[in-house]
């Protein structure tokens, strides 16, 4: 049987050798069941063992294999090779991140931002004491935003993340909103103090691309706009009735 071949143009960057990345061409067979990640592994196994890229679970849950595929952020394990026939396919590291080597990007900046939004249940009386019951409809409030796998495709799609390095960014803000909407959480006020800043929710201009590229349908753009609406109402309340605010704080 004749397997069709496709040209892959893969970004290479060696910090020791190169001053900037360049594209290297490979011919890869297109098997019907193959995804981008299979093609990259084929290159590493058969053509050039020095190609460096992150991957782990192969089933769209670890969030490691995000690359720019023909200038679109995609999960390598969830993107079929055959849809790009006749090719070529350009594979580059995720945009808006510093490149460590080849397709591997540096994400410690994101991890630091993630921590800053306090993405955990905040409870006045200490966590873990007793049960916190939740109805299915209460779960439904935030379930969508809780599906995030931190693959960072949304950061690669968001122009503001690239332009404004202090902007907290889609995934972290969506995750903050996921906990705000959780009926067991009491940290909304605390997070609002951190995120109602120009580099927090207000930095977002609702380009909406984060939502379009999200492989888990988390809808960060929607989450951030809803957060803005809540913050604006809170802000207006404080602006119009500054005296009423003190008593509300617990």
């Amino acid at each position: 049987m004749n397997t069709p071949m496709i040209e892959m143009q893969v970004a290479r960057y060696s910090p020791e050798r190169d001053s900037q990345p360049y594209l290297q061409r490979f011919e890869v067979p297109v098997k019907p069941e193959w995804v981008i990640l299979d093609a990259l592994n084929y290159i590493k196994d058969k053509l050039d063992g020095t190609l460096t890229f992150r991957w782990s679970c192969r089933m769209g849950i670890c969030g490691s294999c995000g690359y720019m595929v023909n200038n679109e952020p995609k999960l390598g394990c969830a993107t079929f090779l055959s849809q790009y026939l006749p090719g070529p396919i350009k594979i580059e590291p995720l945009r808006n991140f510093p490149v460590v080597r080849d397709l591997v990007v540096e994400i410690s900046d994101f991890l630091e931002k993630l921590k800053r939004v306090r993405p955990w249940l905040i409870h006045e009386n200490g966590n873990g004491a007793g049960e916190y019951l939740q109805t299915p409809s209460q779960l439904e409030e935030f379930r969508q935003h809780s599906m995030c796998i931190n693959c960072l495709l949304c950061y690669a799609a968001c122009p503001i993340s690239g332009l404004d390095p202090v902007f907290i960014g889609p995934a972290a803000l969506a995750l903050a909103q996921r906990y705000n909407k959780d009926s067991r959480d009491e940290g909304a006020e605390e997070r609002m103090a951190i995120l109602s800043h120009p580099e927090g929710i207000w930095g977002c201009t609702f380009v909406g691309e984060c939502t379009k590229v999200c492989p888990k349908h988390v809808d960060p753009a929607g989450a951030i706009q809803q957060y803005k609406l809540a913050a604006a109402m809170e802000g207006m309340k404080q602006f119009l009735m500054p005296w009423g605010h003190r008593q509300e704080e617990r």
Binding site: L163, A193, S196, P198, W202, T205, K228, A232, M236
Partner: protein
């Protein structure tokens, strides 16, 4: 000027202005910018327009339709300049320019509708 306390207020003005602009401005511009000049509809008489302008409801309507959309413009244009031209370092100037337009426009609108 752009901080935690002010941004919710500017965003609220932006949103309110966006709604007002979306609902009222297309019809307004279509009538006097396109339909009347091209002769698609008859030209409203001066006496009729003046009478319309002198009604208190029209005055309030015009003040709202002039003011809020300018704050919508100020917010959007400010961010477009920051991001599109990458001139975040001119922050203060862009801010003053955009909201300056909105405040001056609002004062002008207030003056005009009061002195009709």
């Amino acid at each position: 000027m752009v901080n935690k306390e002010t941004e919710p207020i500017f965003w609220t003005l932006f949103s309110a202005g966006g709604v007002v602009a979306a609902l009222f401005l297309p019809a307004q511009l279509f009538l006097f910018g396109i339909a009347v000049p091209l002769g698609w509809v008859h030209v409203p008489t001066h006496a009729g327009m003046l009478a319309l302008l002198q009604s208190p409801i029209t005055r309030i309507y015009l003040l709202v339709v002039c003011s809020l959309p300018l704050f919508h413009f100020a917010h959007r244009f400010r961010y477009t300049l920051y991001d599109g031209l990458q001139i975040k370092h001119l922050n203060e100037m862009v801010f003053a320019g955009c909201y300056g337009v909105a405040v001056v426009g609002t004062l002008l609108a207030a003056y005009l509708v009061v002195t009709v």
